[in-house]
């Protein structure tokens, strides 16, 4: 009898995470959907006119900025992360790898506000002085985000590379391929889906990051014309205006949250599906 009750309680606890997820989705949709219907989905998503106090709610420039910033972070971050993953998993001696992998994972533990702060103090002046523009820019934002997503991508890619059966590598080396040829043609191919999962998760982290982005992105409300122009992303829009928003304005910020939520879900579900396929292989 007691055992049965305990089992039921544990089952309830097990559903806590998914319950929280559903509750969250319900609440954010409940707060945000009415304004989307009021403004019209097309107007909300594809208008660049955001003047919430005057009743204009168009978030197109923020969607574009978020995607640009994320793409930029991937362009800078992925090569570095893959280089680290390959070096640590294939070239570095075991002993070094045991030290360096957690060291890189430590980068993930540094608070995002500290990254943003370092961006403002060190990176923004560099960009302003050497490349021009205000410094607070898409470029600065992408570089900071690239550093922030490095550990995620590196760490999961290392696991993917190490999961490749050793016999593949032996077979390739026995055919006379060099170590690098083996990595390029055999190991990276076999670890492909793991690496793609890593990149998807990195993307989700980059598009969802807020505090660091607010500090370095400049937060201007227009579609960026160059990497040096300031941008405002979906996340920073929410965080910047939430403090004083009320009524329709607040609802519109929740609606911005819905769009972000959908982006993240797409990335996560894709990563999840790829990982499943990878495990099955």
């Amino acid at each position: 009898m007691k055992e049965k009750i305990i089992e039921k309680i544990l089952m309830l606890l097990a559903f806590s995470a998914i319950g929280a997820l559903l509750l969250m989705a319900v609440f954010i949709f409940k707060e945000g959907m009415p304004i989307i219907f009021k403004v019209g989905l097309k107007n909300f998503l594809f208008s660049t006119h955001w003047a919430p106090t005057k009743g204009y709610f168009g978030i197109f420039s923020m969607i574009v900025s978020s995607l640009f910033v994320t793409t930029g972070a991937l362009i800078i971050g992925v090569p570095l992360a893959l280089a680290c993953a390959i070096t640590l998993a294939e070239f570095a001696p075991q002993r070094l790898m045991v030290i360096l992998k957690p060291t890189i994972e430590l980068l993930a533990g540094i608070p995002s506000v500290v990254y943003g702060f370092l961006g403002v103090v060190l990176l923004v002046p560099l960009i302003r002085d050497y490349l021009g523009g205000p410094g607070l820019s898409l470029l600065a934002c992408s570089i900071i985000l690239a550093i922030m997503i490095l550990p995620t991508i590196t760490s999961i890619s290392i696991d993917a590379i190490q999961a490749v059966p050793y016999s593949y590598k032996e077979g390739s080396l026995a055919l006379g391929a060099t170590h690098w040829q083996t990595i390029r043609m055999v190991i990276l191919k076999a670890a492909r889906s793991g690496i793609i999962t890593a990149i998807m998760l990195g993307m989700a982290r980059a598009i969802g990051e807020t505090m660091a982005v607010i500090m370095v992105a400049g937060n201007a409300l227009k579609i960026p014309s160059s990497p040096l122009s300031p941008v405002r992303t979906l996340t920073s829009n929410i965080a910047l205006e939430m403090g004083y928003a009320a009524g329709d304005h607040r609802a519109a910020l929740f609606a911005t949250g819905i769009v972000l939520f959908i982006f993240i879900m797409i990335f996560n579900v894709t990563a999840n599906i790829i990982t499943k396929r990878w495990r099955r292989e």
Binding site: P79, A83, F91, I110, T235, I238
Partner: protein, 279 residues
């Protein structure tokens, strides 16, 4: 015939490049830690740690923000630990792989990917407004516990799975019930692994900003109860730095943030290694 470059030469060049990039990445980390330490450590005195911020943080220390951070960690863990460990026990000991466990795992993974700003929005709409808890440590702690849940479930699950099956069989053969086996045999052996997840949760509470601003607020007063608003160290640092209130105090706070995270991560890593070695 096209000239063929020696593959061994290519390998040597590529290897050098890859090592270079890796060194560069590690260099960034070392640089960040050194930069903050050099600028921040001289600010840290006993007085800085034990006196309250004065004049919006322009002078004085960070005592109230440390207290607020500790309260927040306490509340989040109090909620997330039972939920997380319970869920992990259910997933590993009480069910086989089935549709239900797939759904639970999928939900947990999705929750892990939710960015903090969305959690913050939710915490604000649900705990602060709908449940009328206001900006308080309680609202913040409950929101943070949702954020910690996936990590704690996952690490506890891994730790429980790593406990050898023979231990359970011996216990069952002695006529012990399942729940007693779980509490007396499985959990004690899995404890170090579970602790790792909890320790990482503490680090998340310290470094989080977006959720806290929306749910705990940014009051500088020393919190008297869990229903008081407060300001954690990370939020304090953010406000000091963004509004340019006091750079020396900002560096000092940042140094404490980074050093505590560093310390927490290293101890988590150490506990995990001890655990794996024992298994």
């Amino acid at each position: 015939m096209a000239k063929r470059i020696n593959p061994v030469l290519i390998q040597r060049v590529i290897k050098a490049q890859l090592w270079g990039l890796t060194g560069f990445t590690i260099g960034i980390l070392v640089f960040i830690i050194c930069f903050i330490s050099v600028k921040g450590l001289p600010q840290i005195t006993l007085e800085f740690l034990t006196s309250n911020p004065v004049d919006m943080g322009r002078s004085g220390g960070i005592f109230s923000t440390i207290v607020c951070t500790l309260y927040l960690i306490f509340v989040s863990l109090m909620i997330a630990i039972p939920l997380g460990i319970g869920a992990a026990i259910y997933l590993t000991e009480y069910t086989r792989e089935s549709r239900v466990t797939h759904i639970i795992r999928f939900g947990t993974e999705c929750l892990a990917g939710i960015p903090s700003i969305i959690l913050g929005l939710f915490g604000f709409a649900f705990f602060v407004m709908a449940l009328r808890l206001g900006w308080s440590i309680l609202s913040g702690g409950m929101t943070m516990s949702i954020m910690l849940l996936p990590t704690i479930i996952r690490t506890s699950e891994e730790a429980i799975k790593a406990v050898p099956h023979e231990l359970r069989e011996v216990s069952f053969s002695l006529g012990v019930t399942k729940w007693q086996t779980v509490t007396k045999v499985v959990l004690p052996s899995a404890l170090p692994g579970i602790v790792t997840g909890i320790v990482l949760g503490v680090a998340r509470c310290i470094e989080e900003t977006a959720v806290i601003i929306f749910t705990v607020g940014s009051s500088l007063r020393l919190p008297q109860s869990l229903l008081d608003s407060g300001r954690t160290m990370a939020v304090h640092f953010y406000i000091l730095a963004r509004e340019g209130i006091s750079m020396p105090n900002a560096y000092g706070t940042a140094a404490i943030l980074i050093l505590s995270i560093l310390f927490i991560n290293l101890s988590a890593y150490y506990i995990m290694r001890q655990f794996l070695r024992k298994m």
